[in-house]
């Protein structure tokens, strides 16, 4: 078994007394590429925020590389769900990527040469070096998403979390984006949150399904019972890249 990067131990999260996550136990290892699927409002983003230490569990424990999330999050590269930023905002690609170094720099100082070098390397690794002086709003959705990945990579993370990265990417660009993730997974474990099961299942090495409870078997397999429990309806899914129907048509009685 390879090194454990994230560990959740019987974690519960409640908002105003309503449980959002129930008894979640999960471990993410060094060579995992985990696809996290589930219906909207199922708690996918909440789970990521737990790992980032932005939410404290009401019960249970979260550790990142053996440390608390507040300490461990400097090792996490985070690509938030497409933020509705102002397309006119006066900032260029390089400056956006540099903000990902802020947990490596000290306040009252400007970015160092090391920071700039790291930013250029991060842009290189997502093939966006040529557009480094372009204003962020001038880029296409797919290009912006690459910049946000570079911003996550620039802090030299040991874990990459992506929240619905495809929501603003045109279909033809999605395959290219998955290829980028394919390359990145050689370097670090990745958690990819998505509601698009079929697209995700082709690329990831493991799948978990979340709807308040987590359905996960440390593999790429989900049982029909899991999916039915999570989505409360039949699902057409793809396993090992071969499409086949795993559930019977829903029959109303």
């Amino acid at each position: 078994m390879s090194e454990e990067v994230v560990k959740l131990n019987n974690v519960w999260v409640q908002y105003d007394g309503t449980p959002v996550l129930e008894d979640i136990s999960l471990s993410i290892r060094k060579d995992d590429f985990l696809g996290l699927i589930g219906p909207n409002g199922g708690g996918k983003t909440t789970l990521l925020k737990l790992m980032l230490g932005l939410i404290t569990p009401s019960r249970g424990e979260v550790t990142i590389l053996g440390e608390s999330p507040q300490k461990g999050r400097k090792h996490i590269g985070y690509v938030p769900q497409h933020s509705l930023f102002d397309r006119d905002f006066p900032i260029n690609v390089m400056e956006v990527v540099l903000t990902g170094r802020l947990n490596h720099t000290r306040p009252f100082n400007w970015y160092s040469k090391v920071d700039r070098k790291a930013a250029l390397e991060a842009l290189e690794s997502v093939d966006m070096l040529e557009l480094k002086n372009r204003q962020i709003g001038m880029l296409s959705g797919g290009q912006q998403q690459r910049v946000f990945v570079a911003r996550a990579l620039v802090g030299e993370p040991k874990l990459l979390l992506l929240d619905e990265p495809m929501s603003n990417v045109d279909a033809p660009m999605q395959a290219e984006f998955y290829e980028l993730l394919e390359r990145l997974k050689q370097r670090m474990p990745i958690v990819l949150v998505s509601h698009d099961i079929s697209a995700v299942s082709v690329y990831v090495s493991k799948i978990a399904c979340l709807n308040r409870k987590l359905y996960y078997h440390e593999s790429k397999e989900l049982t029909p019972e899991d999916l039915e429990a999570a989505y409360q309806c039949p699902i057409q899914m793809i396993a090992h890249g071969v499409p086949h129907r795993v559930l019977k048509e829903h029959t109303h009685e």
């Binding site: 507040q70 102002d86 905002f89 006066p90 900032i91 260029n92 802020l102 306040p107 009252f108």
Partner: protein, 284 residues
């Protein structure tokens, strides 16, 4: 006007006050515009009237207290108060700001009413009176400018990060809440600095119009600050000159001139875009 500047010290002081004001509103106004804090800035500036009233009232008892010192302390506290209440409660932001805006002004009116005697320069705090700026006003403005410049130089990359994407800043572990409150305090300092120049009611115009004009010409935050300082200076100097030549109220003239510059800049930007578009799309 050159003659007047050479002859009258009050004109020299007005000129320096205008330039000092343009620096602060160019820098802080840029954040106000890109981070969309126009309404909260309006609230902070109007609430400062409470401090003016309090300063008036207290000046009967404590000799060194002036309305402007009252405004300085009161405005800093009301900015922090607005920021904290907006973030910590479930009240919607515009409701909180609307309440504090009016409460601040009401406090000012009550205290001025409680102060015996005639309050001759009340009008000048509401509408500005750049021609009556004193040396001590200038010193205070210069000090506030220096504080603003120093803090923005120190926290430039942090302010840029939270302005662009606050959520990502939080995920990085930045103290986004504290940074936001510092930014609100800088707005408060700018408001106090601008009270004598354009007056409480018109401050919001000088915090928004020059940066909005600058934004049409650059995609870089630093350049946007420098450009809006330049547009602010042109508006203040030009407005001062117009008001001197035409015998108009200076504060309002400065605002109207900056609005004219904004309109001209918008027109210019539109025409340039149209020209570029027509060059790019070949005719049939």
């Amino acid at each position: 006007m050159i003659d007047a500047i050479l002859h009258y010290p009050f004109m020299q002081r007005a000129l320096i006050a205008g330039l000092l004001a343009a620096v602060a509103c160019g820098i802080i106004g840029t954040y106000v515009v890109v981070k969309r804090m126009v309404f909260i800035s309006g609230g902070i500036s109007h609430a400062s009237f409470g401090g003016i009233g309090l300063g008036y009232y207290l000046s009967q008892y404590i000799s060194w207290v002036t309305p402007v010192y009252g405004a300085l302390v009161f405005t800093l506290f009301s900015a922090l108060g607005m920021g904290l209440i907006v973030r910590r409660t479930r009240l919607s932001e515009d409701t909180v700001i609307g309440i504090m805006w009016a409460v601040g002004m009401a406090i000012g009116i009550v205290f001025i009413g409680l102060t015996p005697g005639y309050t001759p320069d009340l009008f000048s705090y509401l509408f500005g009176s750049i021609l009556t700026v004193s040396i001590s006003d200038l010193i205070m403005m210069a000090v506030l400018d220096a504080i603003i410049i120093a803090l923005v130089l120190m926290l430039y990359k942090e302010f840029l990060a939270i302005s662009f994407d606050q959520e990502f800043g939080t995920a990085l572990g930045l103290p986004t809440q504290r940074l936001y409150l510092i930014l609100l305090c800088l707005i408060a300092l700018t408001v106090v600095l601008l009270i004598r120049v354009v007056g409480i009611i018109l401050i919001i115009a000088l915090l928004t119009i020059p940066p909005a004009t600058a934004r049409q010409h650059t995609h870089n935050l630093k350049n946007m600050m420098l450009l809006s300082i330049a547009f602010g200076m042109v508006a203040v100097l030009g407005g001062l000159w117009l008001s001197y030549e035409l015998d108009l109220r200076s504060g309002a003239t400065i605002i109207l001139l900056s609005a004219v510059i904004f309109a001209a800049s918008t027109l210019f930007t539109r025409l340039r875009h149209r020209k570029r578009n027509s060059l790019e799309t070949p005719a049939d």
